[in-house]
């Protein structure tokens, strides 16, 4: 039996239509109806938040934090400006789902942000778009113009008397800006260096005002939830893991790409949808949730279902749903060298353990890969990792350590072989 999913899709359903990104396609399929209904009926914010809580929508950017709970942190009776911010700074190696929402269903993201703005009492919203996908920054601005012209944005939206506007803000090459407080700094026109928390953005966010930051896929799910109800969204997935989720699968599969499937789908089914491991090869290892997620060997991964809880139980994390597949030809030392370089390059430099530690880890892994490893290096790497994790302002430190410690834990013999024989075990 071949694995397929034919049920409802929350975000990428427009791809089944001729002109997926157009306002006409979106409106012809019920788009902006939830917004109009909310504005016409003046639905109380508490009711909207309740539906989002029932839906068990968990943040799609990596942390999996319950969205309804996050929204409930925003102060209700704050006398001043508030903001809603969308995080499309998608730069975690392996992740490429939000770009497809912006490209193929921009209006659902716009509607989700407007509903978020209404619910949270915001006066404006910003969508922070990864610099390297600049073409989508331009196309999303065009979609905003369409929405404005149709009366969904700006003054007196849909005749409701309520004003709200949205804007695009560009990144320009800094992975760290995917961290929400670094992203806020970046919108303020500064270096993207994460802030100390507390205070959290809900009390001190953009321009010092209460702010909610959600991932693109999270915000794009909101109109679906408002239209079909929180319970229906929950039932698309499994308890505590509501909805469908876009999985970005890359690496050694025949058909890399995005697959929107229910949370709780077996990994084996996703692998099959992606055409299986590239022809003639066997599965060796999988990074299930973006490069920061600990790697899992094939046998463990083949026993997992794709939801936050199952992957956590297996010792990794679902993260952003970015599944990097590696076959038996991959040298784990070389793969880790590239990831370690990434974190070294992208550390913002603010905290000493991360700034110095990512450099140490990269240099040690590099010397192992290039035949200059020392017997004590693996213990050294584990210990450098332990001295970074938990000792930094943001999660980039932990993100850099996760791959190093998990690669060594699961594939220690490859690292030892490299050190001892000054060459690669793969193909030896």
């Amino acid at each position: 039996m071949s694995a397929t999913y034919t049920g409802p899709k929350v975000c990428l359903w427009t791809l089944d239509h001729a002109d997926p990104a157009s306002l006409a396609t979106y409106v012809a399929n019920g788009g902006y109806e939830p917004l109009k209904k909310i504005l016409a009926e003046k639905t109380p914010a508490t009711e909207i938040i309740e539906q989002v809580k029932i839906s068990a929508l968990r943040g799609r950017g990596g942390a999996g934090f319950p969205t309804g709970l996050k929204w409930s942190f925003m102060p209700r009776n704050y006398d001043g400006d508030k903001y809603v911010v969308c995080n499309t700074d998608e730069g975690e190696p392996g992740t490429f789902k939000d770009r497809d929402i912006v490209e193929f269903n921009p209006h659902q993201l716009i509607e989700g942000m407007i509903i978020a703005g209404y619910t949270l009492g915001a006066k404006a919203g910003y969508n922070y778009i990864h610099g390297e996908i600049f073409e989508l920054y331009e196309s999303w601005e065009k979609a905003l113009e369409e929405a404005r012209a149709a009366g969904y944005l700006g003054k007196n939206i849909c005749g409701s008397g309520w004003d709200f506007d949205l804007h695009a803000h560009q990144g320009y090459g800094a992975y760290i800006c995917g961290e929400e407080t670094a992203l806020l700094e970046s919108i303020e026109g500064k270096k993207g260096q994460p802030r100390f928390k507390p205070p959290f953005p809900a009390s001190y966010g953009l321009f010092g005002k209460p702010t909610t930051i959600n991932n693109t896929e999270t915000l794009a799910s909101i109109p679906w939830i408002m239209r079909h109800g929180g319970q229906a969204f929950l039932e698309l997935g499994k308890p505590n893991n509501g909805g469908t989720k876009i999985f970005s699968i890359s690496g050694h599969v025949n058909k890399p790409g995005n697959y929107e499937i229910p949370l709780g789908t077996p990994f084996a089914d996703l692998l099959e949808m992606a055409g299986g491991v590239r022809d003639g090869h066997t599965l060796k290892a999988v990074i299930p949730g973006g490069s920061s997620a600990p790697v899992l060997p094939a046998d463990i991964m083949m026993g997992c279902t794709l939801d936050f809880d199952s992957i956590a139980k297996a010792g990794s994390m679902l993260g952003s749903g970015a599944v990097i597949v590696m076959d038996e030809t991959v040298c784990m030392v070389k793969a880790l060298e590239r990831l370690a370089y990434f974190y070294f390059e992208e550390s913002c430099g603010q905290c000493t353990p991360c700034r110095e530690g990512t450099g140490w880890m990269y240099r040690v892994i590099k010397r192992i890969e290039h035949g200059e490893g020392r017997p004590e290096d693996l213990d050294l790497l584990m210990s450098v990792g332990t001295n970074i994790a938990g000792r930094t302002i943001c999660a980039l430190g932990e993100a850099a350590v996760g791959p190093v410690q998990s690669f060594i834990t699961h594939f220690r013999e490859e690292f030892e072989y490299h050190i001892e024989n000054k060459k690669c075990m793969v193909g030896a």
Partner: protein, 158 residues
């Protein structure tokens, strides 16, 4: 030194997105627009942007050096940035990068003698499913690269 009227009008559009007392928020866009016009960001360009947005020059310099798509040195007419991160690497990015280096006769971070091409190594573009990938002058992405498509791309960039 100044920027063209067209560039300034683009920057003004960006400034209008933010609260009136938050012009600094437009600095990333202003630097991008300035770089498109000038090819790279010289100190005098940074100073101009600082003055235009009412920021200290050092604050603009901090931003320009923090984000890696800004070029603080002269660059070839065509900057090719190749992602070599793990998912792209698994899909053949090293072969594409090696081919580019060999064909252009330069390494990462170098410019051809005729000033036509600069080659750079990039970090994740967030488009891994279509790798190997490169960016042309920061804004145009080319996907599913192979030595054949690289040949075609380079021929088009005069």
């Amino acid at each position: 030194m100044s920027l063209s009227a067209e560039s300034l009008s683009q920057i003004d559009k960006e400034i209008a997105k933010y609260p009136a007392d938050r012009k600094q928020s437009a600095v990333m866009a202003a630097l991008r627009i300035a770089q498109v016009e000038k090819g790279w960001l010289a100190n005098e360009t940074l100073e101009f942007v600082a003055e235009y947005l009412g920021m200290p020059a050092i604050a603009v310099y901090e931003v320009a050096t923090f984000y890696n798509m800004y070029d603080l040195e002269p660059c070839g007419r065509h900057k090719i940035t190749v992602c070599t991160n793990l998912p792209c690497q698994l899909q053949g990015a090293d072969t594409v990068a090696d081919y580019l280096k060999q064909k252009l006769g330069i390494g990462f971070g170098e410019t051809t003698a005729d000033g036509r091409f600069t080659l750079k190594e990039g970090e994740c573009f967030g488009t891994c499913g279509s790798g190997p990938l490169c960016l042309h002058n920061n804004h145009k992405m080319h996907t599913h690269l192979s030595p054949e498509t690289v040949d075609k791309l380079l021929d088009e960039l005069k």
